[in-house]
Subunit: 329 residues, 2 copies
């Protein structure tokens, strides 16, 4: 039995969306149980309305909510009875809980993960997104927004934890690590990127393959793409925005022409480029799987996020765990 902690607060579409996503997961995944954290009355009422199997549901009441306007510090120190803090605390203390899913404030999530799950080393965790690359593989983009101002050592750290993650989770024996820059040449980049290039190049045991431009970010040339949280956020959101925009254009064109062929194409494109449903951000550098769903997530996204957590929890067991997520190669 795998039990996942779910923060029921913070989704743009409300607690009902989260509960319906959980219902889908309970129906589809045998051996799954959940700890739902949030307003107990709201949770109960949604569970009843959606007819959840309550034998696999535990509820933990939390009287406060971390909003997108709260700073990470506010969340950690002034909202100790929030669903986020209580969920993370439970995950760190209870051995029966295998991972976390939430859709709320990213900065607060990272701060809580650092406090409760960063282990002895206390290195700041990173947020990553695993995106489909050209050629059918996946690229782990790290960081996508946990640390906005980075120094070169942080970028080196991202390379290490990203590499460890792709090794353990995707079975890639020697992951190729790339660095996002404004040109493929070693001399290209802002100050921090240029310095990070040298650190990554000289790091033993890391398969550093050089700089990648934005146009090749998901070109399949690397398994891990290192960048600061500001640039990574741009890569993720510009990819998403452009894909959404083009698909919208195709839908309009299909409606105008009435072509069924083109409507089928839309379905095909959505299955590849509906990045939201890939499950949002995976927190790297923590002791248990923590996955953030998009704020704008729907039920399907919650289901796929839970699946990612389970997949990570199962892999973590396979790989013993002692060097799994913490960056040692």
């Amino acid at each position: 039995m795998y039990k996942v902690v779910i923060d029921t607060k913070g989704a743009d579409k409300g607690v009902g969306t989260i509960i319906r996503g959980v219902k889908g997961a309970l129906e589809k995944i045998e051996g799954l149980a959940v700890l739902l954290v949030g307003d107990e009355a709201d949770i109960l009422s949604e569970c009843q309305a959606n007819e959840l199997d309550m034998e696999r549901v535990e509820i933990l009441n939390a009287t406060e909510e971390v909003t997108n306007y709260d700073s990470p510090v506010t969340a950690l120190f002034q909202k100790r009875d929030s669903s986020l803090v209580k969920a993370m605390e439970a995950l760190s203390k209870r051995d029966d809980l295998c991972g976390f899913v939430g859709a709320g404030n990213t900065g607060a999530l990272i701060a809580c993960a650092t406090k409760y799950l960063s282990g002895k080393e206390r290195v700041r965790p990173a947020l990553s997104a695993v995106l489909p690359s050209i050629g059918g593989g996946f690229t782990c983009l790290v960081d996508t927004g946990a640390t906005i101002d980075c120094d070169a050592n942080m970028l080196l750290h991202f390379g290490k934890i990203g590499s460890a993650f792709m090794k353990k989770m995707y079975g890639i024996s020697n992951p190729r690590v790339g660095l996002l820059s404004n040109g493929a040449e070693e001399t290209k980049g802002n100050k921090v990127v240029k310095e990070a290039h040298q650190l990554l190049k000289n790091e033993e045991g890391l398969n550093f393959v050089g700089n990648f431009e934005g146009s090749n970010a998901l070109g399949g040339g690397c398994d891990v793409l290192v960048c600061d949280g500001f640039a990574g956020n741009q890569v993720l959101k510009v990819t998403e925005g452009t894909a959404k925009r083009i698909i919208t254009d195709v839908v309009k064109y299909a409606k105008k022409t009435g072509s069924e062929e083109i409507m089928k194409l839309v379905g095909y494109l959505m299955s590849i480029y509906d990045i939201g449903s890939l499950g949002g951000g995976i927190v790297l550098g923590v002791e248990k799987p923590v996955v953030k769903a998009h704020g704008a997530c729907d039920e399907k996204a919650i289901l796929s996020t839970i699946k990612i957590v389970l997949n990570m929890a199962q892999n973590k067991e396979v790989f013993e765990g002692e060097d799994a997520i913490n960056g040692e190669n």
Copy 2:
């Protein structure tokens, strides 16, 4: 008669591509003449092979070439007989030349533009791209790669010259200026972006409309989008890379299904998203129009780049010029 200076060096596909692009422009645009700068023998031979109207062609011989591996300083001080330096020098000295087109090293181009064309103020020029936004308008992205490490004052300057450009060139009376960040809230951003937000907000005469995320970069919510050259380069290239990738997927799908409807759709999408053919980067903050074509440009891109220069030169005359490009609102 409008005479445009063309650097014939620096295009990935060689001097022939440039000359064929010029031939197309001379045929399509009445009243256009060109000064071609580069290896005289090469230019002459390509002009003959492509049967250019030599009455509208002047050639300026240059024995050196600035490559993508040269630093801006090398280009300026050690390659004084390069096509780039000679072209810029001619543009700054001769009143009969109205603007510049080139496809070579961006950093060197900006350095030369600063030396020869930044006027009394000597403020570093910026590189911008004018991209089609959702809803049919255009967004001027600035900077897209001229200055990789920026401080907050530079970002304010980009807002001002971008706003002046969209006012003069696109006739927008009060251009909306946005700031690229990792969240719409005022508190989001890296250190420089947060500081720039306050400067932009407090700048009188500037219609600052707040932060934009990457997903809304081209959403039509602003006419000018301010960012440092590193982030701007990502927005430009990730948009381009994603569009190219999706269109490739659509082409594959069309071939697999044999659908003519979908092949027509490909043509439609290419007409919107073939960013390369939009003409590359426009240098803002200089005394005469300077436009950079993509290194990978084809003949069509050279033609459209020349058109942009002419359009700018004509508008500059209409608007008298004294406050046209230099950022005064």
